[in-house]
């Protein structure tokens, strides 16, 4: 097991910059998820750690040693690929043991370790099959078994669940996380799926445009996103944003969006700002005395059974940001066009300045 650190990593492809100024320290045994939209540089960063790409600048350390110029075959890292990358001409057992075979590990020892890894993932009955005879979920397990058998310094996952259907994805998430906790192996996991990031990570690294936007535990990022981008990227349905203005008057400050007014911390700078409120923090009944109450017309209802998503037109802001989505627990009999009063607490609200950066302590 080993710690990993990226120091000032840059990566250019011809003229375009794929990764910029990437600095990250990953502790031994930590599960770190790199998340972001496609093209954000997360996969490139992972591939540089794997040694499949050479950084244009900066150094990468594994267990305190500089591995920037070590070829990937000598890095003792194991990777699970998006397509699983199982060798089509080898059986499952041969796939799992390929790395050990190359290391000239004795046959009996290989057989023992293959058996162990296969049992761990529940694929011992598939060992003599070829990959094309396996289902997607089985292939995914083989790919994981191939990674763990090498007892690597770290696991690297490159969107390993994106080819699975939704149901399998859920169980695979849990399994990978459990496995990692049991083995205690440092893990870097790349995904574009914020649910995977939230549920699996010790720490999440949100990336955009080749840069790290924020690093933190899932709950830190959820509660205190440092930007509109992070706030909107994590959470589903995404955070509601209401554009408005911060107005100062008589030593107090208010957020104003047409008829909607919310008191702000007087330290907040005046000018255009955006309020963010997560759909799950919106409630129809008044639960606290300091709640901000507002009513809007129901535009669209999605009944999911356990919860109901309601799109409301608040009519209080410029057209683009006047619709908010509320995530209400249970079932609600609401028709489009009816009026609904909702409320949300200032504690749950976020404020962002004109550049999209979070303004902390804006609500009292």
């Amino acid at each position: 097991m080993a710690s990993i650190s990226f120091r000032n990593i840059n990566k250019f492809y011809e003229a375009s910059q794929a990764v910029a100024d990437f600095n990250l320290e990953i502790a031994d045994g930590e599960f770190v998820v790199l998340v972001g939209p496609s093209g954000c540089g997360k996969t490139t960063s992972l591939r540089m750690l794997a040694g499949l790409e050479q950084p244009t600048g900066g150094r990468i350390y594994l267990g305190g040693q500089d591995i920037t110029d070590v070829p990937s075959k000598s890095r003792a890292l194991a990777m699970v690929f998006q397509s699983y990358a199982l060798y089509p001409h080898m059986t499952v057992a041969e796939n799992i043991s390929f790395a050990l075979t190359l290391q000239k590990v004795p046959k009996s020892e290989i057989a023992r370790q293959v058996q162990q890894a296969a049992a761990l993932l529940g694929i011992d009955h598939l060992l003599s099959r070829k990959p094309r005879a396996l289902s997607g979920g089985q292939r995914q397990r083989v790919a994981v078994a191939r990674a763990i058998i090498r007892n690597p310094q770290a696991f690297l996952f490159d969107e390993p669940l994106s080819n699975l259907d939704a149901k399998l994805r859920h169980s695979a998430r849990v399994e990978i996380r459990k496995l990692q906790q049991n083995l205690g192996t440092t893990t870097v996991y790349v995904t574009h799926d914020q649910i995977e990031a939230m549920t699996m990570a010790d720490r999440i690294v949100v990336m955009e445009g080749g840069r790290i936007r924020q690093v933190g535990t899932p709950m830190e990022l959820y509660r205190n996103p440092n930007s509109k981008f992070v706030a909107s990227f994590l959470g589903s349905p995404p955070t509601n944003f209401i554009d408005g203005e911060c107005v100062h008057e008589n030593g107090s400050a208010r957020f104003v969006a047409e008829s909607m007014e919310i008191p702000l911390n007087p330290m907040t700078a005046s000018g255009p700002v955006t309020v963010g409120i997560r759909p799950e923090h919106i409630t129809p009944v008044k639960t606290a005395s300091d709640q901000i109450r507002i009513s809007g017309g129901v535009r669209f209802v999605e009944a999911l059974g356990a919860e109901t998503l309601v799109d409301l037109d608040l009519g209080v802001a410029p057209a683009a940001s006047r619709t908010v989505t509320a995530r209400l627990a249970g079932q609600h009999n609401l028709a489009a066009g009816t009026k609904l009063e909702i409320g949300f607490s200032p504690r749950d609200m976020m404020l962002f300045d004109a550049q999209g950066n979070a303004v902390s302590g804006a609500f009292c």
């Binding site: 591995i67 075959k73 000598s74």
Partner: protein, 315 residues
């Protein structure tokens, strides 16, 4: 701490500078090692001999190592082009090519269209058409020598049934070349049909149905749709057939006529062989080779120009 399992140990940072540059240089060498056998072989057995042939065409030598080679400049070219053998070979080469166009390049087109319209049912035809491709030209030549044998051959039997006298075709200077042309057509016709068939397979049959709905007949469909779409295949077939005709015809010439009678079947390729290995006139053979090289270049150029312009126009 050993962080790398079963592999080269990683050096500590301060020691790294030298080994890294060494490693990078080694990686840069790797593709060249993979390429080395091919590049070496092509250099030694293709490109260098091409240059050397140019040099050999300027000397007078008889392949005898103890005999010194004498530099004679362009004299060989004059001698070769002035010879009756060369004139016959050049003329025959043009006849071989001229006859190839209708027989081997154009005739297969309607045959391929017929076969194509049959769809999967034409499989047996296709298998039969393909067979001559795999059989060696030596086999084909000997088989036809037997069939055309003026005394015992099958052709004679058939002619006799019809009450005709069977001529000794290979001994007739006017007929022998047509025997060779016929045999090389036998060998390559079916293959060209299959290449056209592959070209036709890429034509979307919905076009044809659409044209039928518009009231077009077979001839219109062929002229307006199939022919234009087949032009790139035609270019390919024409070029490969002409190269084939110039080279492969060597075998039946050598087996059946040895260029005769009275040089009536020899071509440029066979002439080079005669100069080089029958009379051991290396300079003459090499000069002939360079002339053939020039001839091939001109042919390729003309074909590309003519057929390319057609193809572009059609599109």
């Amino acid at each position: 701490m050993n962080i790398v399992r079963g592999a080269a140990p990683v050096r500590a940072a301060p020691l790294q500078a030298a080994p890294i540059t060494k490693r990078v240089r080694a990686t840069a060498l790797v593709p060249w090692l993979y390429l080395a056998p091919t590049l070496l072989l092509l250099g030694v057995f293709t490109y260098w001999p091409l240059l050397q042939t140019a040099y050999l065409s300027l000397i007078d030598w008889n392949l005898n190592p103890s005999q010194p080679a004498e530099f004679v400049g362009l004299e060989n070219y004059g001698r070769v082009t002035g010879s009756t053998l060369f004139q016959a070979a050049l003329l025959n080469t043009l006849i071989y090519i001229g006859a190839s166009i209708p027989l081997k390049v154009l005739l297969p087109i309607p045959v391929a269209v017929f076969l194509w319209s049959m769809g999967q049912r034409g499989h047996l035809y296709r298998a039969i058409l393909f067979m001559p491709t795999l059989i060696s030209f030596v086999v084909v030549g000997i088989a036809f020598l037997w069939i055309l044998n003026p005394i015992f051959g099958y052709a004679k039997v058939i002619f006799a049934e019809l009450g005709l006298r069977f001529p000794n075709l290979l001994a007739d200077p006017d007929a022998a070349i047509w025997v060779i042309i016929g045999i090389s057509t036998w060998k390559v016709l079916g293959f060209n049909v299959l290449i056209y068939l592959a070209g036709l397979a890429s034509i979307n049959k919905e076009f044809i149905e659409a044209m039928r709905m518009d009231g077009a007949g077979d001839v219109t469909i062929f002229r307006r749709l199939i022919w234009p779409l087949l032009t790139p295949t035609l270019t390919f077939v024409a070029i490969s057939t002409i190269i084939f005709t110039m080279q492969q015809v060597f075998t039946p010439i050598d087996l059946m006529t040895e260029g005769g009678p009275s040089n009536s079947t020899t071509n440029l390729f066979y002439m080079i062989y005669q100069y080089s290995f029958v009379t051991f006139d290396v300079g003459g053979g090499a000069a002939g080779t360079m002339i053939l090289f020039g001839f091939l270049m001109i042919m390729a150029f003309v074909q590309f120009r003519v057929l390319d312009r057609r193809a572009q126009y059609q599109q």
